[in-house]
C-alpha cells in the first residue's frame, strides 16, 4: 500500500490527530472542572457545569486512552521511554484523572455538603493537574529529557520528577492549563445561562489572555535561549533503523530549522495566536460560538507548533543526543504500522460520526430548572 517512509510520516500525523482530538474534546472537560470552583458558586450551578459534560467526558477521555494505545503500537520506544522516565509525572496525571469517573458519578449521590465539596475539589484536581502536567511534559521535550539507551535498547533515565520542573517547562504548563481552561470556559459559555454564564465569560477572557502572553513568551524564550537538535540526513528513511546509529548535530537554535526551511509551517504559531485572540474577542462580546472556535483553533495551533518545531524528533535526549527518538527510528515494523492504519481508516470516521450524533442529541443550554426537574437522574 504505502512504503515504510510514508507510513512513518502518516503515523506522526495520526498521533498528532489523536492528541488534538484529546485536547479538543477532553480539553473542555478538564478546563471546565479546573475553573468550576471559581465560576460555579451554588450547588445547582456546579451541577449544571458538571452535567454539561456528564454525557460526554467518558467518550472524550478515550481519546487519551487511545492515544496511549496508539503510542504503544506505533512508537513503542516512545511509550516505554517517556512513561518510565517521567514516572512520577505520569502517575500524577493518572491520579488526577482517577478523580474524574468517581467524582462525576458519586458526587451528587449523597446530599451531604461536605461530601460534595470534597468531590468538587477532586474534580478540580482531575481537571487542572493533567492540564498543567501535559504542558510541563511538552516543555521538557523542547529542553530534552535526561535519558539514554544501552546496547540492548534498555532506557535509563537520569533525572527525577523535580528535574522536570525547569522554568521553561513550568511556563509551558501554564500555557497548557490556561489554554484548556479557556476552552472549558468557552464550553460553559455555550451550554449555560445566568450568573454561571457571566462568570464563565470572565474566566474565558482571563485564561485567553494568560494563554496569549504565555504562548508568546514561550516562543521568545525558545528563540533566545534554547538549543534544539538537527538530524543528519545520511540514512534511509525506508529502512528499519536502530535508533543508536543516527547522527545528530546541536545546531538548531530555538528549534527554528523547520520554520526557516518550510515557511508554510509558520501558520501554526500564528493560528495559536489568532485562536487566542478570537477567544478573547468572543468572550468580550459574548459571542459564544466565536469564543469556542477561538479556543479550539488555539489548541490546534499550539499542538502543531510543537510538532512542527520538533519534527522529526519526538523525544530528544539532553544527555545523549544519539539516543533521541525520531519518527524514523522509534517506530514499529512496517506491518504493524500498516495494519494500524487500516484500523484507523475504518474506525476514526465511524467514531466521529457517532460522537457527533451523541452531542447532537444532548445539545442545549442547562440551568437550575434542568437540575431541579431531575435531581436523582442527573450527576
Amino acid at each position: 500500500m504505502f512504503d515504510y517512509e510514508t507510513l512513518k510520516l502518516i503515523w506522526w500525523g495520526l498521533i498528532g490527530v489523536l492528541l488534538i482530538g484529546f485536547a479538543l474534546t477532553d480539553g473542555f472537560d478538564m478546563g471546565a472542572m479546573a475553573i468550576m470552583p471559581f465560576v460555579a458558586k451554588t450547588d445547582n450551578e456546579r451541577r449544571v457545569a458538571i452535567n454539561t459534560i456528564a454525557p460526554h467526558w467518558d467518550g472524550n477521555q478515550v481519546w487519551f486512552i487511545t492515544a496511549g494505545g496508539a503510542l504503544f503500537a506505533a512508537w513503542p520506544l516512545v511509550y516505554a521511554t517517556a512513561f518510565s522516565g517521567m514516572y512520577w509525572a505520569l502517575l500524577l496525571v493518572l491520579f488526577g484523572l482517577f478523580c474524574r469517573p468517581v467524582g462525576f458519578d458519586y458526587r451528587s449521590k449523597l446530599e451531604n455538603k461536605k461530601w460534595r465539596d470534597i468531590w468538587d475539589w477532586a474534580l478540580f484536581a482531575g481537571g487542572a493537574l493533567p492540564a498543567l502536567l501535559f504542558g510541563v511534559a511538552f516543555g521538557n521535550l523542547f529542553l530534552g529529557l535526561p535519558f539514554r539507551f544501552d546496547e540492548t535498547m534498555r532506557s535509563h533515565f537520569e533525572g527525577s520528577f523535580f528535574s522536570l520542573l525547569h522554568p521553561f517547562a513550568l511556563l509551558a504548563g501554564v500555557v497548557s492549563l490556561s489554554m484548556l481552561s479557556a476552552h472549558g470556559g468557552s464550553w460553559l459559555m455555550l451550554r449555560t445561562e445566568g450568573e454561571l454564564y457571566e462568570r464563565s465569560c470572565k474566566a474565558t477572557r482571563l485564561c485567553a489572555m494568560v494563554f496569549l502572553g504565555g504562548f508568546f513568551i514561550c516562543g521568545v524564550w525558545l528563540l533566545l535561549g534554547i538549543d534544539g537538535l538537527n538530524l543528519v540526513d545520511n540514512f534511509d528513511p525506508n529502512a528499519a533503523l536502530n535508533p543508536l546509529v543516527k547522527q545528530v548535530t546541536l545546531d538548531n537554535s530555538g528549534w527554528q530549522t523547520n520554520y526557516v526551511r518550510y515557511p508554510l509551517t509558520q501558520f501554526a504559531p500564528l493560528l495559536g495566536l489568532v485562536g487566542g485572540a478570537l477567544a478573547l474577542m468572543g468572550a468580550q462580546t459574548k459571542r459564544n460560538g466565536l469564543a469556542f472556535l477561538g479556543t479550539s483553533l488555539a489548541i490546534v495551533g499550539a499542538i502543531l507548533t510543537a510538532g512542527f518545531a520538533l519534527f522529526p524528533f519526538v523525544m530528544p535526549s539532553a544527555i545523549d543526543p544519539v539516543s533521541s527518538l525520531t519518527v524514523w527510528d522509534a517506530v514499529s515494523s512496517k506491518k504493524t504500522l500498516g495494519i494500524m492504519l487500516i484500523a484507523a481508516i475504518i474506525f476514526v470516521p465511524i467514531i466521529l460520526g457517532y460522537t457527533l450524533w451523541c452531542y447532537w442529541h444532548m445539545w442545549g443550554k442547562l440551568n437550575d430548572q434542568t437540575i431541579e426537574a431531575n435531581p436523582h437522574g442527573l450527576y
Binding site: 445547582n44 452535567n51 456528564a54 454525557p55 460526554h56 467518558d58 467518550g59 477521555q61 478515550v62 486512552i65 487511545t66 496511549g68 494505545g69 496508539a70 504503544f72 503500537a73 506505533a74 513503542p76 511509550y79 516505554a80 521511554t81 517517556a82 512513561f83 518510565s84 512520577w88 502517575l91 491520579f95 484523572l97 482517577f98 474524574r100 468517581v102 462525576f104 458519578d105 449521590k109 449523597l110 446530599e111 546496547e151 540492548t152 535498547m153 534498555r154 535509563h156 533515565f157 528499519a240 514499529s332 515494523s333 506491518k335 504493524t336 495494519i339 494500524m340 484500523a343 484507523a344 474506525f347 467514531i351 457517532y354 460522537t355 451523541c358 444532548m362 435531581p375 436523582h376 437522574g377
Partner: protein, 535 residues
C-alpha cells in the same frame, strides 16, 4: 542488571492493580448485557417495571463502572511506566490490539454510556435500546482485544525476533487474532463476566424477596438473572474445560503446576483432587487421586501422556543450552558480522533465545553461565506449584457451587415458587462473593502460571521491568494502595446503600420506601430515599 527487588515490586504493583481492576470488569461485562436484555423486554412488553429495572440496576452498574474506568486508566499506561523493556521488546505486536481496543471498543462503550444514563428523555425507545446494546457490544469487544493481547503473552504466535531492532516483530496478524489461547480465554472470560452480573442481580433480588418488599420488581429481576446465569455458568464451565485443554497443548508447565504433576505417569494419568504439593521434596503429600481423569481431561485421549514437572525441567534445560548458542550468535551479529551464514545459523536457533535470557537473572554474560546457573534457570521455568494447585481448585469449586445455585434458582423461577424457598434465597444472597473469588483466582492461575515469563518462552519477567529504583516503586505502590483503598471503601458504601434502598432510589413513588409508613430507619434516615427535594 535490574535488582530483584525492583522486579518483585513491579510485579506486585502490576498484580495488585490488575486484580483490583478485575473486581469491576466482570460485573461491567455481565451487567451491560443484563441491562440490554431487561430493556429489550421493556421495549417488547411496554411494562414500566422493566424500565425501572434498567434504571435501578443501571444505577448500581454506574457505581461499579466508575471504578472500572478509573482503574483501567492505570492499566493502559502501566506497561510503559513499569515494564518499559517489555514495551520496547514486544510493543510491535502487543500494542496493536491495545490500540484497536481503544478505537473499536472503548470509544463505542464510553461514548454511548453517556446516552445510556442521560438520554432517556432525548431518545426514542428504540434509539435508547440500541444505545444500551452498543454499550454491551463495546464492553465485550474490549474484552476480546485485551484477551487477544493477553493470549499472545501466553502463546506468542505470529511474531519473530529481529536482531537489527532488538525486538519481536509482527509477521502474521491473522495468527495473532486467531490465537487459540486468545479465543478460549475470550469466551471463558466474558462468560464469567455474565455469571458475575447474574449472581449480582440474583443475590440482591433475593434480598428483596427475603425482606418481602418490591416483590414484582424482585421476582422479574430474579427470573432474568437465573435464566441468564444458567446459560452463562454452563458456558463458563464448558469453555473453562476447553481452556484447560488448550493450556495442556501450549503451556505444559502451567498445566503441570496446576495439577502438581511432578512425574510423567503412564497415560492416562490420574487426577489429584486434593493434596499438599511440597516444592522442596517435589512430591504431593496426602494426595487424593482419581484414576485416569487428568489424562482424559488434559489430552482428551487414553494414550497421550501429561508431561510431569521433572521432565519439563530437563526439556527446558536443553532449550537453555540451545538458547545460549543463539545468544552468542546474536552478539556476533550485533558486533557487525552479518554474513548470510551467520544470519542463517542464528535463525536456526533463535526460537530458544528467550530461554537463554532466563540466565540474565544470574549472569550478565549469558554465554559463560555456569552449570549451576543453567540448572537453576531450568528450575525457574516452573511456576509455584502450591499456589497454582490451590487457586485453581478454589476457582473450580466456586464455579461448581454457582452451577448448583443457578440450577436451583432456574428451576424455582420456572415453577414460580422461589419465594416459598427461603433457603434458596439465602443461598443466592450468600453466594454474592463467589464470582469474585472465581474471577480473581482464575486471573491468578492464568497470569501467575505464566511465570517466569512475561511472554511465554520469549521474554523473562525479570528482564521486562523498567529501570526504576526501589524508592520509586515503594512510593507508587503505597500511593496506589492508599488511593484505591479509599475509593473501594467509598464504592462499597454507595453500593450497599443503594442496594438496600432498592428501586425506591429512583423516586418514582411506586416502591417500598416511598409508601407511607415505610420510611428508612437508623443510619439510613438521612439517605437519598428520604429527601425528595434537592439542596
Amino acid at each position: 542488571m535490574i535488582s530483584e527487588s525492583v522486579v518483585d515490586l513491579s510485579r506486585l504493583q502490576f498484580a495488585m492493580t490488575a486484580l483490583y481492576h478485575f473486581l469491576f470488569v466482570p460485573l461491567t461485562l455481565g451487567m451491560t448485557f443484563l441491562l440490554a436484555i431487561m430493556e429489550s423486554v421493556y421495549v417488547m412488553t411496554g411494562k414500566q417495571v422493566y424500565k425501572d429495572m434498567v434504571k435501578f440496576w443501571g444505577k448500581l452498574f454506574g457505581i461499579n463502572f466508575a471504578l472500572g474506568v478509573t482503574t483501567g486508566l492505570t492499566m493502559e499506561f502501566q506497561f510503559g511506566t513499569n515494564w518499559a523493556y517489555y514495551s520496547h521488546y514486544v510493543g510491535d505486536i502487543f500494542g496493536a490490539p491495545l490500540a484497536i481496543e481503544g478505537l473499536m471498543a472503548f470509544f463505542l462503550e464510553s461514548t454511548f454510556i453517556g446516552l445510556f444514563f442521560f438520554g432517556w428523555d432525548r431518545l426514542s425507545k428504540i434509539q435508547h435500546l440500541s444505545v444500551t446494546w452498543l454499550v454491551a457490544l463495546g464492553s465485550n469487544l474490549s474484552a476480546l482485544w485485551i484477551l487477544v493481547a493477553n493470549g499472545w503473552m501466553q502463546n506468542p504466535v505470529g511474531a519473530e525476533f529481529n536482531f537489527e531492532t532488538m525486538r519481536m516483530e509482527l509477521v502474521d496478524f491473522g495468527a495473532l487474532l486467531l490465537n487459540p489461547v486468545a479465543q478460549v480465554k475470550f469466551v471463558h472470560t466474558v462468560a464469567s463476566g455474565y455469571v458475575t452480573g447474574a449472581v449480582f442481580v440474583l443475590a440482591i433480588s433475593s434480598y428483596y424477596l427475603l425482606k418481602k418488599r418490591d416483590l414484582g420488581f424482585a421476582r422479574r429481576s430474579f427470573a432474568i438473572a437465573s435464566a441468564f446465569g444458567m446459560a452463562s455458568i454452563l458456558s463458563v464451565l464448558v469453555l473453562g474445560d476447553e481452556s484447560g485443554y488448550e493450556v495442556g497443548e501450549v503451556q505444559k508447565a502451567k498445566l503441570a503446576a496446576i495439577e502438581a504433576e511432578w512425574d510423567t505417569h503412564p497415560a492416562p494419568a490420574s487426577f489429584t483432587l486434593f493434596g499438599f504439593p511440597n516444592e522442596e521434596t517435589q512430591h504431593t503429600d496426602f494426595a487424593v487421586r482419581i484414576p485416569f481423569a487428568l489424562g482424559i481431561i488434559a489430552t482428551r485421549s487414553l494414550d497421550e501422556q501429561v508431561i510431569g514437572i521433572k521432565d519439563l525441567i530437563i526439556e527446558n534445560e536443553a532449550r537453555i543450552r540451545n538458547g545460549m548458542v543463539a545468544y552468542g550468535l546474536l552478539e556476533e551479529l550485533r558486533a557487525g558480522d552479518k554474513t548470510p551464514e551467520k544470519i542463517a545459523a542464528f535463525n536456526e536457533v533463535k526460537e530458544d533465545l528467550g530461554y537463554a535470557l532466563l540466565l540474565k537473572k544470574y549472569t550478565p554474560n549469558v554465554v559463560d553461565a555456569s552449570e549451576a546457573q543453567i540448572k537453576q534457570a531450568a528450575k525457574d521455568t516452573i511456576p509455584s506449584v502450591f499456589s497454582m494447585f490451590w487457586t485453581f481448585r478454589a476457582m473450580v469449586a466456586s464455579g461448581l457451587l454457582m452451577l448448583v445455585l443457578f440450577a436451583c434458582a432456574f428451576w424455582a423461577s420456572a415453577r414460580k415458587n422461589e419465594e416459598s424457598k427461603p433457603w434458596l434465597l439465602k443461598f443466592a444472597l450468600y453466594s454474592l462473593p463467589l464470582p469474585w473469588i472465581a474471577t480473581q483466582t482464575g486471573w491468578f492461575v492464568a497470569e501467575h502460571g505464566r511465570q517466569p515469563w512475561t511472554i511465554g518462552g520469549v521474554l523473562p519477567t525479570h528482564l521486562s521491568a523498567s529501570s526504576l529504583t526501589t524508592n520509586d516503586l515503594w512510593g507508587s505502590l503505597f500511593a496506589l494502595i492508599a488511593f484505591y483503598t479509599v475509593l473501594l471503601v467509598v464504592e462499597m458504601y454507595l453500593m450497599i446503600r443503594f442496594a438496600r434502598l432498592g428501586p425506591s432510589s429512583l423516586h418514582t413513588g411506586r416502591y417500598h420506601f416511598e409508601q407511607p409508613g415505610n420510611a428508612l430507619h437508623g443510619g439510613q434516615a438521612h439517605g437519598e430515599g428520604h429527601q425528595s427535594v434537592n439542596a
